[in-house]
Symmetry: C2
Subunit: 312 residues, 2 copies
């Protein structure tokens, strides 16, 4: 739009984003990052929050378990049935080695010309914990524009907690053989997933053993009358088990729609984001107000904190 020689950009709205395709979404994400507190961004995100269209699927598991291969297979299956998919790959690496060791983590083989698939890598950001505010905003926006939003995080422990905070349906991937899946479950799962995927099912007996171990571990955690957690075996390379996995994800979507579970779960998530965002804002402001926090030689951080706490 040109007015008197000045270029006035179209206001970002859900409507303009739906019309503008992937380029418009990329611009909107850049705008959210630059000006998260602007009225324009708050309006857009509030509109998107009120008009969700997608199921949000979170996927987590240790590195090397085969998440990228599985994501490619899932995306293909969804695209084949005409569903439009947005992907967020959350990058766990932090400051120092970010560039050097990391490389391209997503390794998704998607067609860049396909307007029905949007892929974005995002930093988990610093150690403040939880998924970065930008990831949540991006998810909310994509949730109002696509049919499926797939969020991938790497790791164990922390990452399930994070993905549970933004996903409707959480997939947890384990691989057979490497160590003991049972021990893995004991050590690694901080939150109960909705679907467990044993990857590399072409390994045969170890995969079946891993599946039995996981089922055993989950039997301790399942709530009677609640969602029965399926433990599926897939061999994503050969596309085996993908249909069953898609069906399990669909079944969980149906389960969530029953009795308003989905709306309640999303409202609880949003409440939690708000608490975290408030904590983060005030914490940042507190650090700013505390001023110079560097310690003198031999100065005790414990005494300094006690002094600062008194001024709170």
């Amino acid at each position: 739009m040109h007015t008197g020689g000045h270029f006035v950009p179209e206001p970002m709205t859900l409507l303009s984003l739906r019309a503008g395709g992937k380029a418009a979404l990329a611009r909107a994400l850049a705008r959210i990052e630059q000006a998260p507190d602007s009225a324009e961004v708050v309006d857009l995100l509030s509109d998107a929050y009120a008009a969700p269209t997608a199921q949000v699927v979170g996927m987590t598991g240790p590195p090397g378990v085969g998440k990228s291969t599985l994501m490619n297979a899932l995306i293909q299956a969804w695209r084949a049935s005409g569903q439009r998919v947005a992907c967020i790959a959350v990058d766990p690496s932090s400051r120092r080695s970010g560039g050097a060791l990391l490389g391209d983590r997503t390794r998704l083989s998607t067609d860049p010309e396909d307007q029905g698939i949007f892929v974005r890598s995002m930093a988990a950001r610093d150690r403040l914990g939880g998924l970065a505010g930008l990831t949540i905003s991006a998810m909310v926006l994509m949730r109002a524009l696509y049919d499926v939003v797939l969020i991938e995080t790497v790791g164990v422990g922390q990452s399930e907690t994070e993905v549970v905070g933004v996903a409707d349906t959480v997939l947890f991937c384990v691989q057979p053989g490497s160590g003991d899946s049972l021990q893995f479950m004991k050590a690694g799962i901080a939150e109960i997933p909705h679907v467990v995927v044993v990857t590399k099912a072409d390994m045969g007996p170890p995969a079946r053993r891993a599946r039995a171990d996981v089922k055993g571990a989950l039997s301790l955690a399942e709530e009677p009358g609640g969602w029965a957690i399926p433990v599926l075996m897939v061999a994503a390379m050969e596309k085996r088990g993908i249909d069953d996995l898609v069906a399990a994800i669909d079944a969980h979507a149906l389960y969530l729609r029953d009795g308003g579970r989905l709306a309640a779960a999303r409202r609880a998530q949003a409440g939690q984001w708000l608490v975290e965002a408030v904590r983060e804002r005030f914490g940042r402001e507190g650090v700013r107000r505390a001023g110079d926090l560097s310690l003198a030689t031999n100065e005790s951080p414990f005494r300094r904190l006690a002094e600062l706490a008194q001024r709170l």
Copy 2:
């Protein structure tokens, strides 16, 4: 001490803790947890901060890599040479499944009668990020009472960042064969460790391949003239490679003592704890002051946050 019929507990001091053994340390940790801001605790921790005696060794790596076996072997080697060892196993699991799936994570086979080894499991606590304040306090106290403090965290990504924030020497464990060590390094390492341990060296060629992969990945990250990161192979079950690992840990201690590196690194760590602690305090206070943060049906968390931010 009895005074006029009232029981007045001995004040906790480093001296009383040195005399009181493991029971006294356990009581002090309980007191730190109950009353972290009390003058008594601040005094004790400040004294301990000023009088470190131990090298703090952090160990991290994915579940199933064999950290417990390796810890047992290291502890035995240190005890055999007369060193007194304190261990903190940081438990990554969070709220919900904590009890049910977790069980006893440490699996350390230490002699409970041995006053020279103290083991404690600690929660990584909620998603606020970083190691919990209690873990830092416990480490500082143990650092003034023992010869070695060994801190174990599970996982990839986040956990290295955490352990780097408290340890002098960081060991990162990888196992051969499972997936690709190189990819693992790419995906999982957020901070550069000081020593890399390839476990299960009895696997032979896969272990040597893993070692070569890791060395290749690290060559991109090493700083010229700095610490050359050793990549060692151990078979902890058969106690192979443990002496070399102990020697590498000792060598890093010597490296740190050179030119005041250790004091500088510890002061930087303490400065970072202080920033995190201030952020956490103010954040918590901000959430308290914000009052009821629950959302009405269809209320946008983005709008609510924008309103709260204006009142900041």
